[in-house]
Symmetry: C2
Subunit: 159 residues, 2 copies
C-alpha cells in the first residue's frame, strides 16, 4: 500500500487522538495526552499537524434538532432535465446555499441527486419543496421520503 499525497501518515496514536476529539472536541491537551499515554508536547504537535493537513476540518457544537424544533427529516430524490457539466455545477452551487438541505449527494442511479432536508414540520417541508427545491436550476422532478423515526443520526451543527 503506497502513500497518497492527500493522505498524510496517520499512525495508531493519531487515530486515538482523532477518535477522542471526535467524541469530545473540547477536551484539553493535558487530558488527551493522559488518555493516549503520551506527554502534552507531542500530542499538541500532532493535533496541530492533523489540523494543518486538513484531517481535522474544524470543531463544532452539536445541537439537538428536536429541542430546536427542527425534528422533521425528509429525503428527496431529484431528477434534472439537463445533466451536462454546467447544469450540474449550477445545481450544486444553488444547493449549497440552502440551509434546509443538510446533505446532498450526486447518485449513480435512476435519479440524479439524493438530499436530506431538515425542517420544522411537514408543513414547512411542503413549502420548502414547492418554493425552494423545485426552483433549483434544472430540476425536472422529485420524490420525497419522510422519516418517521431517527434511528441513528449525527448531532446537527447548523441553525
Amino acid at each position: 500500500m503506497t502513500d497518497r499525497p492527500d493522505m498524510p501518515e496517520i499512525d495508531r496514536i493519531d487515530r486515538a487522538i482523532l477518535r477522542i476529539l471526535a467524541a469530545d472536541g473540547r477536551i484539553s491537551t493535558t487530558v488527551l495526552a493522559d488518555r493516549v499515554g503520551l506527554s502534552k508536547t507531542p500530542v499538541a504537535a500532532r493535533i496541530r499537524r492533523l489540523e494543518a493537513a486538513g484531517v481535522i476540518t474544524g470543531y463544532a457544537a452539536h445541537l439537538s434538532a428536536r429541542k430546536l424544533g427542527l425534528g422533521h427529516v425528509a429525503f428527496v430524490e431529484v431528477r434534472l432535465s439537463d445533466t451536462r457539466e454546467a447544469a450540474l455545477l449550477a445545481f450544486n452551487a444553488a444547493v449549497r446555499k440552502l440551509p434546509e438541505v443538510e446533505e446532498c449527494y450526486m447518485i449513480a442511479a435512476s435519479f440524479d441527486y439524493l438530499m436530506k432536508v431538515r425542517t420544522r414540520d411537514i408543513t414547512e417541508y411542503r413549502r420548502v419543496l414547492g418554493e425552494t427545491i423545485s426552483a433549483l436550476p434544472h430540476v425536472a422532478s422529485t420524490s420525497t421520503y419522510v422519516s418517521m423515526e431517527s434511528v441513528k443520526e449525527p448531532g446537527i451543527s447548523q441553525i
Copy 2:
C-alpha cells in the same frame, strides 16, 4: 405559540450563541461574548443553560472523510420481513452498533429504512453489505445507491 416543555425558551441571543458555537465549537466565552454583544458573565450562564437543557448535546472535532480514506458513501434502502414492534427494536439496536452506518431513518414508504453507509471504497462496501447489513435482524432485501460526488455534507465526527 405556546411553550413546549421539551423546548426551552431560546431568544435571539441564544440563537446567535448557538450559531457561532455550531461553526466554532472551541471559541472562548470571551470572544463569543464580544461577538454577541454581551459580557462574559451572561454568555457563560447561557451556554451552561443550553447545555443543561440538552440543546447543546456535545462538542466534536470534524474530520475529513477523504483524508481518512473513508470517501465511499452509499445509501441503502432496507426492507424487513417483520415490522412488528419487537422486530423494529431489534433492528434499530443492531444498526446503532455498526460504525459504518452513519445515519439511519425509518421511512414511511415502500421500503422501511434508509441508511447512509460510509466505507473506504466500493470493495469494502460490498463486504459490509453482504456480511453485515444483510445479516441485520429481519432484513428481507436491500437496494443500494452509490454516491458519485458529495455536494454537501457535514464533516464526519466518527473514526
